[in-house]
Amino acid sequence: MTGSPHDGARLAEAGRAPSGARDEVATTGEPLLRLRGIGKHFGPVQALAGIDLDVPAGQVTALVGDNGAGKSTLIKTISGIWEPSEGQIIWQGRHVHFRTPKDATDAGIATVYQDLALCDNLDIVQNMLLGHEIRRHLLLDEVTMEKTAKRTLHDLRVTTVRNIRQTVGSLSGGQRQAVAVAKAVMLDARLVIMDEPTAALGVSQTALVLDLITRLASRGIAVIVVSHNLNDVFKVADRIAVLYLGRLVEVGPAPEYDTASVVDLMTTGMSQRSRTANGLAPTPDSGQEG
């Protein structure tokens, strides 16, 4: 990063609503998912502590943080791979306990991991309906399955695939990501969690996936995007949540931040605002020494 991170932070600060207002903004939207005091420790290692996060429907929430900040742990906790050590998960207004990934999937939370978990030798339809095949008397109903898959791809406007019956192994990175997302959507996911969706993609492929993420949100689906790439984050995110050493240091609407302020938060866990909240004087030069 070039330039002083503080300038950006201050610029963002200037146009911002008074402290505390953003929490109200978050709660009035009846968030789909609410995390309250989520903590997770592995033996003596505290990976997450006191996470309060609201994820509203129809919005893209970007989860950012440096390596080891707890991003993966947090999404794995939401998607049922790990149970939280403490705290509550409130899903559509109800307290839930996801013991297995299947619990979360059944509830409508789909996670698209970086490895995508697609079968390269199976075609697009077969992948999208894997584990949820439609049958007519014990036999696979390929016609109906193809129609269902086509409809979903059409809804998401995934139009770059030439043949819905081509194997997933022959697709490009962006198309594979699209198939993985379509697979999640097909299972009536209300929340789609995407782990580094653009990490392995080139420019045009990234655009395709970002477009897809926006379209998911416009369909009323809540999206959590974990990403290192702040350019991509600012292109799609409605809200940004910053993790630092297992704690959620900031959540707020994306327009309130810029790259510099987010980098500052990611690397130091501090910003002008958190200093203010801690009762410290917001001196222009208080910088990184905190």
Binding site: A117, L118, L130, G131, N163, R165, Q166, Q175, Q205, L208
Partner: protein, 355 residues
Amino acid sequence: MTGGVQAGAAPAGGATPQPRPREPWRGPAARRLARRLITANETWTLLALAILVIYFTVRAPREFFTLSDFSLIAQNSAALLVMAVGQTYVILTAGIDLSVGSVLVLSGVVAAEYYTHNGGAAAGTGTVWLGAVIGLAVGFGWGAVQGFLVAKAKVPPLIATLAGFGAALGVSYLVTGGSDISSMPKKLTSTIGLASIAGVQWLIVISFLVAIVFGLILAYTRFGRYTYAIGSNPEAARRVGINVDRHLIKVYALSGLMAGAAGIMSLAFFGNTTIAGHATDNLTVITAVVLGGASLFGGRGTMLGTVIGLFIPAALQTGLVIIHVNQYWQYVAIGAVLVAAVYLDQFRRRLRERA
């Protein structure tokens, strides 16, 4: 994966001058069928088989392509075909089953023991059926244990079934004391072993029925689909809620069951337990599956391919005998065909990926 080659660039792709249809994957059915035929492995394997048959027919017009020769080949291959059916499932899951020949022997031996103690050559129909069921059960159980070792104990399939291969043969020798049992019920040998239905030997009918039924199961049921999925990416299968371990156990049990069936067929055909005669059945069967276009890395292959793949070495062997080539060259020829088939397959795949 080297992404970014065709997609993303697709809107501006330039290769298609006409406006892109709204559903680009929908093309004329005929062209789609033609493309499927050209890209299908079976087409090429069948072509290879056809070339072999034509070559030998031209070289020895009177002897090779006669009905009796074909049925002889099919009859000799019946037990192998049944085992190849099970092996196809196993290889599709990226596994391998080396135990089939020995499980064939063991199932046959146990059934033969039962026959010997229940009337021998004069045993009745009920006894014959019960013995067959016992043989099938032995194969099924042996396969299930191997499947358990692979799926739950995480013993690599090569090792688990190699151990099973040795152990099944050992148990067979222990049961028989080392000498073949040869007093089979007449009701078994004279029906399944020798008789025909509408001019076709029972053994051929049974083996093809098995291949067709399990080929359909593979292509058109959830069981088949999961088999492909697990071979392609077990983690993906697990994440969508497929019980991968249980499916693997079923697949190995199926292979064992098929070896058991082959054991009974072999008893009927030879009239004795042929303990020493199946040491290389596993390799013959695996050769067939691979020639048929299946990948040892799993997820790719079909039953039709396996059937064609089984008859390529069989046709080669018969043909070479008929045109008086030293019989020892047969093994060399089959080895060469196997390597050539896999090489051509890889070559074709690379071409397609580059396109």
